[in-house]
């Protein structure tokens, strides 16, 4: 194996160890370790006799044994293969990959917060509870809702929590109802949520503008419908201007309006879901409120709701005592219960609050305006180069299609991969599914005009390549360590676990 690692004398040693990193298990040699313990100064205990039949020695697999610098190099090398918002633009539509301000990190590392334990007494947790209370108040103000839980771990769990609350609300009225209506442009997590909560999914077709078809909605809503799950602005980046009427149609039949807040970055500081008829919604702190996203973020998906749903919020909630101090209230008989260990991803609460306070109301309004301006700048510069399936005004993201390039056999996925060669992360490929060959671009407010121009130049160049040399796009990326993966075999015959060679 070693003999094959360097072949010939190439100018660029493409077989450099950096480019051929083994799995950490393959680097292991028995007995090597990254620590040295002091002499045992208490009596040794026989673990086998102490644990009895709970002792496990089989099926543990092989644990890698390496020195400290080998571990450091391994993970540092892997990290150089990543793409990150700190390296360049990340125009992944619907994901709001905005900059994670360093002030957030500085605040989250303050010792009293970073070292706090979730089970320390309430008297010693007043600061942490205060952060949860202030963040809750800010998010309630931003959304125009009445109350909130910060507990859900991310957006999809927020949806799950919200729909559990919808179910509890209808059950309390004596009938859980049967269906949730979901538009065909929705995120895939919406129907998954409805199914997980025991509801049937009724699919609502978009009209020619990519919006909710009011007549069709009116026809579908009856006493069996528990709620409509709606993303506003929709996944094609268009504001549902009839949102009031949508809410009225639902409310007339006792159904509720759930808003997927994934695209809140287009509304923050400009308009409030609570004011346009939404009953319950989730936010993604890792999208709109600048906390880290992906790669273990972790996420955070608070759920805000109207007063009618308040009794069903997950337990516990932060309450104020008579003396002004804060406590966690567990006495909530109608609650849907706990959805997450402890109180949610607390580290994200600190970062989101730091972002909200650093921006202030005017700053948040401006981030929204800039996000919308950036998306429209890209739309104006790329319209014509790429097909624009929906002409409705764009908010924070724009959806093109590969229709013009597909004539030469170049698909959205090919161009996304080619974009990697130009130093960008790919845009969102093939979503939303209402657009055939979708190319969904969300620049966020973080990008300067200079960076947007770089992206435009790269995409125009790729469109030219699709005309003149389609093969270079169809076989992209060319500059990455690994080119195209065999996704089909990976899915049909997945290898989920490394096994030591026999």
């Amino acid at each position: 194996m070693m003999a094959d690692k360097f072949v010939g004398t190439p100018k660029k040693a493409t077989t450099h160890v950096n480019q051929n990193e083994d799995l950490i298990f393959e680097k292991s040699s028995a007995g090597k370790k990254a620590y040295r313990l002091a002499q045992l100064d208490v009596p040794a205990v026989d673990t086998a006799s102490l644990l009895g039949n709970t002792m496990r020695t089989d099926g543990l697999g092989v644990m890698p044994e390496l020195s400290e610098i080998e571990i450091i190099r391994h993970f540092t090398r892997l990290s150089t293969w990543n793409y990150a918002i700190d390296l360049g633009m990340y125009p992944l539509g619907s994901c709001t990959m905005k900059y994670n301000p360093r002030i957030n990190e500085a605040v989250a590392r303050i010792e009293g917060l970073a070292e706090a334990h979730p089970y320390q007494p309430e008297s010693l947790s007043q600061g942490a509870l205060g952060i949860m209370k202030l963040l809750s108040e800010c998010l309630i103000e931003i959304t125009g809702m009445d109350t909130i839980t910060l507990q859900p771990a991310a957006g999809a769990q927020g949806e799950f929590t919200g729909i559990l609350m919808v179910r509890a609300y209808h059950e309390a009225k004596g009938n859980a109802r049967k269906k949730i209506i979901i538009p065909d442009s929705a995120h895939g997590t919406n129907p998954a949520t409805a199914a997980m909560c025991g509801y049937e999914v009724a699919n609502l077709k978009s009209n020619a503008l990519g919006m909710v078809d009011l007549a069709e909605l009116e026809r579908m809503v009856d006493e069996d419908v528990a709620a409509l799950m709606l993303t506003n602005p929709s996944t094609i980046g268009v504001f549902e201007s009839d949102i009031h009427k949508i809410a009225d149609i639902l409310h007339a039949k006792g159904a509720l309006l759930y808003m997927d807040g994934a695209n809140m970055n287009a509304l923050c500081g400009k308009t409030r879901p609570g004011d346009f008829g939404v009953d319950v919604m989730h936010l993604n702190l890792h999208k709109t409120f600048s906390t880290p996203h992906g790669g273990g973020g972790p996420g955070s998906g608070p759920v805000a709701c109207k007063k009618i749903l308040e009794p069903f919020l997950p337990t516990p909630v932060v309450k104020t005592n008579a003396d002004g101090s804060l406590r966690l209230d567990y006495n909530r008989p109608q609650s849907v219960g706990r959805v997450r260990a402890w109180y949610g991803n607390f580290g994200m609460f600190i970062r989101a609050l730091a972002y909200i306070l650093a921006n202030g109301p005017d700053g948040l309004r401006q981030t929204t305006e800039d996000a919308v301006l950036n998306a429209n700048y890209l739309r104006a510069r790329l319209d014509g180069t790429f097909d624009l399936p929906f002409k409705s005004p764009s908010l924070h993201e724009v959806v093109f299609s590969d229709r013009l390039q597909a004539r030469n056999g170049v698909k959205t996925g090919d161009m996304g991969k080619r974009l990697i060669d130009y130093g960008f992360h790919a845009y969102t490929v093939s979503f939303p599914m209402v657009v055939h060959g979708a190319m969904m671009i969300e620049p966020t407010e973080s990008e300067s005009r200079e960076e947007l121009d770089l992206l435009v130049d790269a995409l125009k160049q790729i469109a030219r390549e699709a005309e003149e040399n389609p093969e270079v796009v169809q076989t992209a990326p060319h500059t990455t360590r690994i080119q195209r993966l065999d996704e089909t075999t990976a899915a049909r015959k997945p290898v989920l676990r490394w096994k030591a060679p026999a």
């Binding site: 895939g188 093939s430 996704e487």
Partner: protein, 128 residues
């Protein structure tokens, strides 16, 4: 792409072959082409009752997961278990690869298309 004349087609891209009270259901060539490489087929259980228009399973490709809708009401009498090990046969032979067989409860609802009508429908849907 080919659409056999003796099949009937749903707008949700399933084909239906009726032989007396027995219905055989698969997905169309257009459906497999749009989905791309199919990696998993979720099948119902034999004996399950299915209403026309209701989902009876799903097909998962490297691109997407799509629900399967029954073009007809009935009871599942057989499922194509070979698909568990070889889902790719749908890609290679969509028209010949059945997914479920049903004992038909009542005649299929209106709205099913002939081969020519389905071909026209697909052309309109894709704009090609």
């Amino acid at each position: 792409m080919s659409y056999p004349e003796n099949y009937r087609y749903a707008k949700s891209h399933e084909w239906l072959l009726l032989d007396g009270d027995t219905a055989t259901v698969g997905i169309t060539d257009y459906a497999q082409e749009s989905l791309g490489d199919i990696v998993f087929v979720e099948l119902p259980k034999v004996g399950q009752e299915i209403e026309a228009g209701a989902t009876f399973g799903s097909v998962e490709s490297v691109k997407a997961v799509s629900d399967l809708y029954s073009p007809v009401s009935g009871t599942v009498t057989a499922i194509n278990e070979a698909l568990n090990g070889a889902p790719e046969t749908i890609n290679t032979a969509a028209n010949e690869t059945w997914i479920i067989k049903l004992a038909v409860k009542n005649a299929p609802a209106d709205g099913l298309l002939s081969a020519a009508e389905y071909e026209k429908f697909v052309a309109e849907e894709t704009g090609h």
